[in-house]
């Protein structure tokens, strides 16, 4: 059966619970407004089981009731990411088993960009959105070069540290600086390495979209809201699972 309804205590009862705050003082009119909102959301009848003032200008509600919507599970579209999302433990295990050494990530903010917010959110142990950064992963060796790193310096450090992956972040977008800097970076790596020995190149920043990878000459682009776990999972997929590009054993 692909047509379903929420379940409270009887099949087909459609019961849901809902809580929200309205920016109005707590009175009868506020309760009526809460019922009206719940009705518009498809809850009918809507039962306001709790309402409480928050200060003088707000009211909090808890509402129960059946919704008249049906959902068709056969019509649910799932957008699959092309790599599996792994927990830090799974990332570490995959690297230990698949690579038998630590995976080296060199990160930097290149060009004149001094905004390390992005790269730090991904690399620093402090992390982002409740996830620890890549430094937290035992099997990842993280070299964070920080801000305003020149491309030749980045290439030199990548070679010195035998980098498996390069992460660059770009926040400043004046005069397309983020695009130009990233292109310069990818060109430099392609020149300095044979294609099958080149580290995986990853660019990130709020103004990038995932579709820009080819234009930028990198292997992967991460946009706004990317979490460290996503980056780590991608690196495992690219460098351990798929082994693309093929790496010399180090």
């Amino acid at each position: 059966m692909s047509i379903i309804q929420p379940y409270g205590d009887t099949t087909g009862d459609g019961m849901v619970q809902l809580s929200f705050t309205l920016p109005v003082p707590h009175d009868k009119r506020a309760e009526g407004a809460a019922v009206q909102l719940a009705n518009k959301m498809g809850m009918d009848p809507a039962l306001v089981v709790h309402s409480k003032p928050i200060g003088d200008d707000f009211t909090f509600f808890v509402v129960y009731g059946p919704v008249n919507h049906l959902v068709d599970t056969s019509k649910v579209e799932v957008i699959e990411r092309d790599y599996p999302l792994l927990s830090p433990k799974e990332v570490n295990l995959a690297i230990r088993k698949g690579l038998r050494r630590r995976l080296t990530v060199v990160g930097a903010c290149i060009g004149t960009d001094a905004h390390t917010v992005g790269i730090d959110a991904i690399l620093n142990i402090k992390g982002f959105a409740g996830e620890k950064g890549l430094e937290y992963y035992r099997e990842l060796k993280v070299v964070n070069l920080g801000a305003q790193v020149a491309v030749p310096e980045l290439v030199r450090r990548a070679k010195a540290d035998k980098a498996d992956a390069i992460l660059v972040s770009q926040v400043v977008t004046q005069r397309e600086a983020h695009v130009l800097n990233t292109k310069e970076m990818s060109a430099a790596f392609r020149e300095a390495y044979a294609e099958d020995a080149r580290p995986v190149l990853v660019a990130g920043g709020p103004r990038f979209t995932e579709q820009m990878a080819a234009e930028l000459g990198v292997d992967r682009v991460f946009g706004r809201g990317t979490t460290p776990g996503e980056v780590a999972s991608y690196l495992v997929d690219a460098l351990v699972t798929k082994k693309v590009p093929a790496k010399r054993s180090a």
Partner: protein
């Protein structure tokens, strides 16, 4: 309050080991200076403002002086020598001239050096007097409006990125019951080697710490304190590369509490260990003088390491933080030593272990207003379960007499708190404090029961770890990944290029005044 039968000899041993581990670090800190310590002197002397690119004048001036004569002598002598030589009428003009390259600095000698020293000391003393005045003002306002009626004090966070949004939110939070308002900083500020200038409206997941933002928020909370008849405290962060300057600004603008951990920047921000310890000592001396309560960051260890296995690293860090704090002149009432409720709730007896750890901290530091931090790591997005967990967190806080309670949000890891989240969280706190706030009067753990044994075990492990640290040296221990699993060698990390070993000619009037310590 002595509920755990801890062996006083072991406790004394733990403290003396912490002193042994910390002493070499203090020596190291005394032998070095940093760009931010030196810039703090300029801020104390009243240099404010920034150039058109937003780079503060203190940075422009410090960079030029450093390029001309180096950092190792301190900035005071070359700067005030230039003023005495008539290069500029005041510090701002001197900084502008320095930035444009129209003044050259030198190290004064003989009588010139004496004159520069006297002038520098006079200006720094004027700044110190302002900080002292701010402290007296706080004492006066607390007397007038009163302290919170209950312990723990209730600590709430605002973080919109825009100081003009933060202000009404902070005032609303205080009206709802917050005793302490913390303004979270923008992500990445800790790694800026300058303090941004002016009122700011754009930040990433937080609001920049600037002198003007401090002033605006303190003024707003002064209004609210008056309205509520209770002094509402303001908290910010003295951490990262500009810790000494931010501490100074906090003193000048009467902030009441500052997050200020001895090792956080090293471990979690990869800031060079020597840079951190030098900056730390100066900032704590300022906090001591300004009557600011520090909050240390032990809770962070438990977000990366396991809260049961790493329980003793929290105790060790608290002991080290206590040593460094007292060495810098802070008193017990100023030590908001941190710890957190982060044990996996699926573990059997997790609550009893939390209770044991919290009681251990309470008994080891009986006169410190411990800062008790809510669960974050095991908040899953299931807000109902999270609400229960926060209730148990509050219960431990009530049962163990914590000084500062950071209110846990059931929507931790989901959204930045909504108005209703905050209201529900405060109801949770009020219910627990009202229902069980005096439970500590009745509660005595069995002398040889689970809780007492667990506390003794953690203390024992702490002593063992401290012994290792003393043998190995604290800097090496940090390099080996003893805390929070992070390995931070002393010759690496951010900000190392801003450290210099003091020369025999070194002079810093702020440090001189702080160490004389007379107010």
């Amino acid at each position: 309050m002595k509920k755990l039968d801890l062996d006083p000899v072991t406790v004394r041993k733990a403290r003396s080991l912490a002193r042994k581990a910390g002493k070499p670090i203090v020596n190291l800190a005394q032998q070095h200076t940093t760009v931010s310590v030196e810039r703090a002197v300029l801020r104390l002397a009243g240099l404010t403002g920034a150039d058109t690119e937003g780079i503060p004048w203190v940075n422009r001036l410090a960079d030029t002086v450093r390029a001309d004569v180096g950092l190792e002598h301190g900035l005071a002598l070359p700067v005030w020598d230039a003023l005495i030589r008539g290069e500029a009428e005041d510090l701002t003009v001197l900084a502008q001239k320095a930035a444009s390259g129209s003044v050259t600095f030198r190290m004064p000698e003989g009588r010139d050096a004496v004159r520069a020293r006297t002038a520098a000391r006079k200006m720094a003393a004027a700044g110190m007097k302002r900080i002292d005045g701010r402290r007296r003002e706080r004492d006066r306002l607390i007397k007038r409006h009163g302290d919170p009626k209950q312990r723990p004090w209730i600590y709430l966070i605002v973080a919109t990125g825009d100081i003009y949004e933060d202000i009404p939110q902070a005032q609303a939070a205080a009206r709802e019951g917050a005793d302490i308002i913390a303004v979270i900083r923008s992500t990445g500020q800790s790694l800026l080697d300058y303090v941004p200038e002016g009122a700011t409206r754009e930040g990433f997941a937080g609001t920049y710490a600037t002198q003007e933002n401090f002033r605006l928020m303190r003024a707003a909370l002064d209004e609210t304190s008056k309205e509520l008849g209770r002094y509402v405290r303001l908290t910010n962060y003295a951490s990262g590369l500009c810790m000494p300057e931010i501490a100074t600004l906090a003193g000048l603008e009467r902030l009441d509490m500052m997050l200020n951990d001895s090792m956080y920047g090293i471990l979690f921000r990869d800031i060079n260990p020597i840079r951190t310890f030098v900056d730390q000592r100066f900032s704590r001396q300022i906090h001591a003088r300004a009557g600011i309560i520090i909050n240390t960051g032990e809770d962070n260890y438990l977000t990366t390491a396991d809260a049961v296995e790493a329980a003793h690293t929290v105790t060790v860090s608290q002991l080290l933080n206590e040593y460094f704090a007292k060495e810098a002149g802070l008193e017990d009432w100023q030590l908001g030593l941190g710890h957190a409720f982060e044990i996996n709730p699926d573990l059997p007896d997790s609550f009893r272990m939390e209770l044991a750890h919290a009681m251990l901290a309470r008994q080891l530091f009986p006169n410190a207003p411990l800062k008790w931090m809510p669960p974050t790591r095991h908040m899953t997005g299931d807000v109902f379960r999270g609400y229960l967990l926060d209730g148990f967190f509050n219960l431990v806080g009530a049962m163990t007499g914590q000084g500062i309670l950071l209110v846990g949000m059931m929507t931790e890891a989901v959204v930045t708190p909504w108005i209703s989240d905050r209201d529900l969280a405060l109801q949770n706190v009020r219910y627990v404090l009202g229902a069980a706030g005096n439970l500590h009067e009745d509660f005595r753990p069995e002398p040889n029961g689970f809780i007492a044994q667990r506390a003794r075990q953690v203390l024992g492990e702490s002593v063992e770890l401290l012994e290792e640290i003393v043998d190995d040296g604290l800097l090496n221990a940090i390099g080996d990944g003893t805390f929070g699993l992070m390995k931070r060698p002393q010759d690496a990390g951010r900000g190392l290029d801003g450290v210099a070993r003091k020369s025999p000619e070194y002079y810093n009037p702020a440090i001189e005044l702080l160490e004389e310590g007379t107010r």
